[in-house]
């Protein structure tokens, strides 16, 4: 008999996102954690996150820095003996954390994602320079100073273009119509 009733809704929410359904299949063998290049830097390892989610620890799971340290290298996914798409599960946790306002301030990755997505949403493409500049403006402009040697190297070798690739007006409008539709019908099943 379980003493605590697990918070069903967190598990249901995770399962409703494509790739998240595997959360119910985990046998806690730890293969994902042993495979993860960043597990030792995470507040909770990948397998711990699953155990905590199943125990209904919503705030602890969704405010963890763990999923934001995921590299999407998919090593866990190809090794999981239960066929869990662990990387996609990390993405599902990221998206729930953002939607519920719990994305951690202890990683700058949520800000990087936002900078990226702002550009892709408005232009349909990703201009490197604009994206990086926007990231440093949103996170900490002072950190950009430390990046100057890297930036100079890129500029010197003609690698950094300030020009953004733009879609033709018809293409841009088409994409906007699709994304607006997606926004109106909502993502999670």
């Amino acid at each position: 008999m379980e003493k605590k009733t697990p918070n069903r809704s967190l598990i249901d929410e995770i399962s409703a996102i494509p790739g998240g359904e595997g959360v119910r299949l985990c046998i806690q063998c730890g293969t994902c954690t042993a495979s993860c290049p960043n597990a030792d830097r995470m507040e909770h390892t990948p397998s711990q996150l699953i155990a905590m989610a199943r125990a209904g620890m919503r705030d602890e799971v969704l405010s963890s820095n763990a999923m934001w340290y995921c590299l999407s290298c998919y090593l866990c996914t190809v090794r999981c003996p239960r066929g869990i798409k662990q990387t996609e599960l990390m993405h599902a946790l990221e998206s729930l954390a953002v939607r519920q306002g719990l994305a951690t301030g202890r990683s700058r990755t949520p800000i990087m994602y936002r900078s990226f997505n702002d550009f892709v949403y408005s232009l349909g493409s990703l201009p490197d320079f604009g994206f990086m500049a926007w990231f440093y403006i949103l996170s900490n402009p002072l950190r950009a100073v430390r990046m100057l040697p890297v930036l100079m190297g890129l500029i010197r070798h003609g690698r950094l273009s300030v020009k953004a690739r733009r879609l033709k007006p018809e293409g841009a409008n088409q994409l906007r119509a699709m994304l607006d539709k997606a926004d109106s019908i909502g993502g999670a099943a």
Binding site: S95, Q174, L179
Partner: protein, 290 residues
Amino acid sequence: MRYYSYFPGCSSSEGFGKAYGQSALAVAKVLDTELIEIEDWNCCGSTPYSSEDELAFLCLSARNLALAEKRGFDLVTPCSSCYVNLKRTNSYLKQYPEMRAKVDECLAAGKLEYHGTVKVRHLLDVLSNDIGYEAIKAKVTKPLNGLKVAAYYGCQIVRPTPGFDHPEFPESLDKLIVSLGGEAVPFPLKSRCCGGSLIIPEEGLALNLMKKLFDSAASNGAECLVTVCPLCQFNLDAYQSRVNKKLKANFNLPVLFFTQLMGVAFGLSEPDLGLKTCVVPTEKVLAKFR
């Protein structure tokens, strides 16, 4: 003549991986292969979009796939991230009918439809398996004479779904290097992560991973690294000096796109190769062949 739909991705078209796109097109031409760019394609959405809004992410990719479907050829991309995301969209649309219905509705809002028939391929797959090592070897005019190369695959070209090569110990790029006359040195970490996009928000984590890769390549005698992904190349090349500075190392390994190395062996010249865009100088290592 072979024909493919071509999806360069943001980096390899106008971005920091521009030399990748240029050299890919030049090399394909030598191999009688036409890469026909999809008209007015958009960003694949990559990991950041799929991690915030799954439906909008699938829409971004589905639009590209729908545009490619009109032409009917396999869709080729040189970018590992575009590859994994376009492929994932294909499999998710089959696997999750409810999402499929929503994506169809969004496509209709853009007056598009997608029937799921486009096969998504990575450029390395096409060159290795469609064109083949013998045909590549036949075009070599400046054999690499045993140049010691570390073939770096990174993650998303071989994982997660069963693809054209082994998910942890791939060999196709090694074989390609050999067909150019080079030597592919043992490189145990060849499919381990370079830090990916975390280089921007969490630099420390990424630098540590890169140092392990450089150690592995250098200790096996590699004179240079080749990559199959614009982000891997960007990290290993532009941030090599940061690894040296922050982690007290002294690496000096040129990092080339595999299409640049092919171009060198095919006797191509600038601006097709774009070697000047490499931050770690390539001249010394490639002087013998140019």
